[in-house]
């Protein structure tokens, strides 16, 4: 075995240790990103060999909590992909408004930037009071941050820029209290959001949803787990419900679910049971000049 092969074997052992000790299953995560995170971790904690992590994982629960953050926190912004939020506002919300009450699942909410973006949008469209949002993540530390809803002021101008481009109607700062170098989301935007831990690779469906958002989460999963998660979302959607993935996440090749139809091609919005109702095609053909 050369060093690269030894490292690969060590990573598999680390994943098995995490699974045996805590039940979290990272076996179906893409290896390229895991490898990168684990390299970063051993240099951060000044650890010589990847397999040295195993003892710490087994005997130090506190260490495992920080490790989990290093392994699974994607960086998020408010209103990331303004085009997506624009389509959500102008195409999806009008359909949701026809229901007396709506349930939304935000899967993989991390530290909450996107779930509060959604809450702001629902409030502006007068739908917030009829909504219940379930915001879930595998990582309890991230959920704690999300519950607090405190973000660094330094990010605000990029959030506001995104918000404007997505069709935002107010001053974004109206939804926050600013304190020193932080912004804190208004409490009335939290009241219909329920944060709890849910593991997409092992936990079940828990309610019937009108809208599911899971953006840039399944990019980290291998195709087996991607398929399983898409089927979980399919099970969890009501007829006519919407599934929103990241703009670069396509499930077409997975052939996972028979009744999820691509509804907005560029924004990767799928709809259960209803094929392309608006007849819109967003074919992006290469034009020869």
């Amino acid at each position: 075995m050369n060093n690269a092969e030894i490292e690969k074997a060590e990573i598999e052992l680390v994943l098995q240790a995490i699974k045996a000790r805590y039940g979290w299953n990272f076996i179906h995560y893409k290896r390229s990103s895991l490898h990168r995170s684990i390299r970063r971790i051993i240099s951060k904690y000044n650890i010589e060999h990847i397999s040295d992590l195993i003892t710490m994982i087994m005997w130090n629960e506190e260490f495992m909590n920080t490790l989990l953050c290093d392994l699974s926190i994607p960086v998020s912004d408010m209103f990331r992909d303004p085009d997506f939020f624009s389509v959500l506002r102008y195409d999806v919300i009008p359909v949701l408004k026809t229901y007396p009450f709506i349930k939304i699942w935000h899967a993989g909410c991390a530290s909450g930037e996107e779930v509060y973006s959604l809450a702001i949008l629902l409030a502006e469209e007068n739908l917030y009071d009829r909504s219940r949002i379930y915001a879930t993540d595998i990582n309890n530390n991230a959920l704690e941050k999300a519950r607090e809803g405190i973000f660094p002021m330094s990010k605000f101008s990029s959030y506001e820029n995104n918000y404007r481009h997505s069709g935002g109607k107010e001053k974004l700062l109206n939804y926050f209290i600013s304190k020193y170098d932080a912004i804190i989301i208004n409490a009335n935007l939290k009241k219909n959001i329920f944060f709890f831990d849910h593991n997409l690779s092992s936990d079940q469906s828990f309610a019937e949803m009108n809208l599911i958002l899971c953006r840039n989460v399944i990019i980290y999963f291998d195709q087996t787990l991607q398929k399983k998660v898409i089927n979980l979302f399919d099970e969890s959607l009501c007829y006519g419900g919407f599934l929103c993935l990241g703009m670069k996440e396509s499930i077409d090749f997975l052939k996972a679910s028979r009744d999820l139809y691509l509804w907005k091609k560029k924004e990767k919005i799928y709809r259960k049971g209803i094929p392309d109702v608006q007849g819109e095609k967003h074919d992006f053909t290469i034009q020869q000049t």
Binding site: S32, S33, P74, P82, K248
Partner: protein, 193 residues
């Protein structure tokens, strides 16, 4: 020199469009896969694959999640996402933190590509005004791959190639026409095997 290379990764920043246009169009239709990181801001439309396709013999496209990497194809990075190569030679994305203020980052692609292709990889750093790519190129060298850097004196922006040269004992420092001819020559040698 070995002749059994399976993929080429290229990283570039400012001046990249002209530099890539001097290399990619001349590569033969059945050339080994080429994966390119071109730094660009997250909110720009990605016209690079469309433009390069119009002047190239190889198939040029934006990289897609889970896509199998095959010969005859040039894969271009997507604004806002890191690109990584899985051990089974498929494309993976991530939205992890920026590296050297860049997402996509050249280091992220190069390090994962070095893991996936080991000594069967060629890494190339072209013009750019950022230190991204030098750590990644070092990983390629350490894994036994071949490393090429554009001659900084001939580059539109010398900073990136110079940083790569300072970080690694690179195999070749070449001008754009030399890199082009080198790759074409290599593909002919590999065909003869």
């Amino acid at each position: 020199m070995k002749h059994n290379y399976e993929a080429v990764v290229i990283g570039t920043s400012s001046g990249g469009l002209a530099a890539l246009s001097a290399i990619i169009p001349s590569l033969p239709k059945d050339f080994m896969p080429v994966i390119i990181i071109q730094h660009m801001s997250e909110d720009t439309e990605n016209y690079l694959p469309i433009y390069l396709q119009t002047i190239s013999k190889m198939h040029v496209k934006e990289a897609e999640l889970n896509e199998k990497i095959v010969s005859g194809t040039v894969y271009i990075s997507v604004p806002g996402y890191h690109i990584l190569i899985e051990p089974d030679h498929t494309i993976a994305f991530s939205i992890d933190e920026k590296v050297h203020f860049a997402r996509p980052s050249i280091d992220v692609l190069f390090e994962s590509a070095a893991d996936a292709y080991q000594d069967k990889l060629i890494g190339i750093i072209l013009t750019g005004a950022n230190a991204d790519g030098s750590t990644g190129l070092k990983s390629i060298k350490e894994a036994g791959g071949l490393t090429i850097v554009q001659d900084p004196t001939s580059a539109e922006a010398a900073y990136m190639p110079q940083a790569a040269i300072d970080a690694t004992t690179v195999d070749y420092i070449l001008t754009l026409p030399q890199i082009r001819d080198f790759l074409i020559g290599l593909s002919e040698m590999q065909k003869d095997l």
